[in-house]
Symmetry: C2
């Protein structure tokens, strides 16, 4: 776009007013981690609106430790910024924080997932139910009737992981609609621990004779694909997100499909939504959805994640 | 992007120089026709660079009549524009035109397909071989070993349709790599005529007992899906392009996958490539590829074609 905002620029230059944003997102341990991608989009947006006096303060929490979310949220309340970007991963802790923000009338935008109990001015997410539904369709398309399908959540606290529960819902909804094919769906939950995952999967194979397809509800799909690589015949495998380990296994034909949600674009759009509402004083759209991209070994090379 | 070009703007305003572009693309009979989409992208780009003195003259040819290409190309030569956008659909006629442009040193950009015998300053296309390869993978993923697969070209002059031949090549290449599964591939060619298509398909079913999957190499996939809709059991069906008739059948579960190439974005990018090279005097990248998007009933709603 050649879109720019001379009037806003003029008035913010004249007033020298500084607008303070804060972001609260999961800590990305390295550049390949999923959460470095939304951060890239946020940084790009901030670099473009910096000239309007916008300054961003970044806060990070550890996904496996919701207490870190609460601690960083406290720091943000002290800072009292003009607007906040939040990835509301831990549901309970996020709702506590947003209730406090609602009371103080500090606007916030959600990225990655939405909580319908909260009141963000806007959210940008993938439709998680629909993406689970799509995963089910891709599995159903590729397997014979009466197959065994494994749905696996790799997470420590499923009940606090709204997004994964929504993906599961979509997945099960799909098979409700085609129940005449009578696949068998086996559901397991296991924390992010290679040995435990391996044990659970081994037991699962012993109990069910064969597993024809696997749906991993998050980016940990590389662990499952790695496990099945020891056998001659692997099930169809579908998971999420273009992190390096997943891409490697996709390109080596160990994973069939990765669903992706353009996380860079999410961070970019979310930041601009906050800017539009707070600095430009425009009412922004509440619900914003990213695409649900189907990535295979064959179209990966030409895929642009922005 | 917040990108703009104040220096170029200043100098083009001062000089009042007009830069003339021409486009030569297939005639789109209505807004739903595939070729109205690249046109949208071209129009959007032109509206943004109009302020730099760029004026576009549009010329259209009829895809089923290559003589119209030659006739319109002649009008462009008379106009002698500063740069040209060409969809080089009819290979022979396109090469004759571009040889003339090379002699006159008039730069041109190809959209939709590339001809390796020509010398465009740039082209923006989908990698057609790779998209055929992807179609084959999606079919192979969904069918049992020893299946009958139909590859169908719906066109009047296949030997002049470089893009369709490339898609076929990619498709056959894929099955070379998995030949141990020994599917049988049946190839047919038929002009764009509903009765002839129906006759050919009927004969094909009679001769081969069953057709398990069909790959239609262009946007005419709706005709094939319509034909198979009369039977209880339809083959897996894959084709190209989000035109309205195809979308309708996709959403009614009569087509499994549509491969899409963001034609709006192609037109937009192509125009900007011409602008960057001719007005901004920047050397642009010669090869530009669009994504190969996999669209299903389930992710269509959230797909953005720009």
């Amino acid at each position: 776009d050649f879109d720019y905002h001379p009037n806003i620029l003029a008035s913010s230059l004249a007033s020298k007013k500084v607008t303070t944003f804060a972001s609260l997102t999961p800590w990305a341990p390295d550049k390949d981690a999923f959460w470095s991608k939304p951060q890239e989009g946020i940084d790009k947006a901030i670099s473009q609106i910096y000239q309007y006096g916008v300054r961003l303060h970044k806060f990070y929490f550890k996904m496996e430790d919701p207490e870190t979310f609460t601690k960083e949220a406290g720091k943000i309340l002290e800072l009292s910024p003009d607007g906040i970007l939040i990835a509301p991963w831990a549901k309970r802790e996020s709702l506590k924080f947003t209730q406090e923000l609602d009371q103080r009338a500090i606007p916030y935008v959600f990225i990655d997932s939405n909580l319908k109990e909260a009141n963000p001015i806007s959210f940008i997410v993938q439709d998680s139910v629909q993406s689970g539904y799509l995963a089910a369709k891709l599995i159903d398309y590729g397997i014979a009737p009466q197959s065994n399908i494994l749905l696996i959540h790799i997470t420590k606290d499923l009940q606090n992981a709204d997004l994964l529960l929504k993906r599961e819902k979509g997945f099960l909804d799909y098979f409700e609609t085609v129940k005449n094919k009578s696949h068998r769906i086996i559901k397991i939950e296991v924390p992010y621990n290679e040995i435990e995952i391996s044990n659970k999967l081994s037991n699962c194979i012993l109990e069910n004779k064969s597993i024809d397809a696997v749906f991993v509800t998050n980016s940990k799909v590389h662990l499952v694909a790695g496990f099945f690589d020891q056998f001659n015949d692997r099930p169809k495998i579908i998971g999420y997100d273009l992190i390096l380990k997943n891409i490697y296994l996709l390109l080596h034909s160990k994973i069939d499909f990765l669903l992706n949600q353009k996380p860079e674009s999410q961070g970019y759009v979310a930041t601009n939504l906050l800017f539009d509402q707070i600095v430009r004083k425009e009412k922004v759209k509440n619900a914003n959805y990213t695409s649900i991209d189907i990535i295979t070994k064959e179209n990966f090379e030409y895929y642009s994640s922005i």
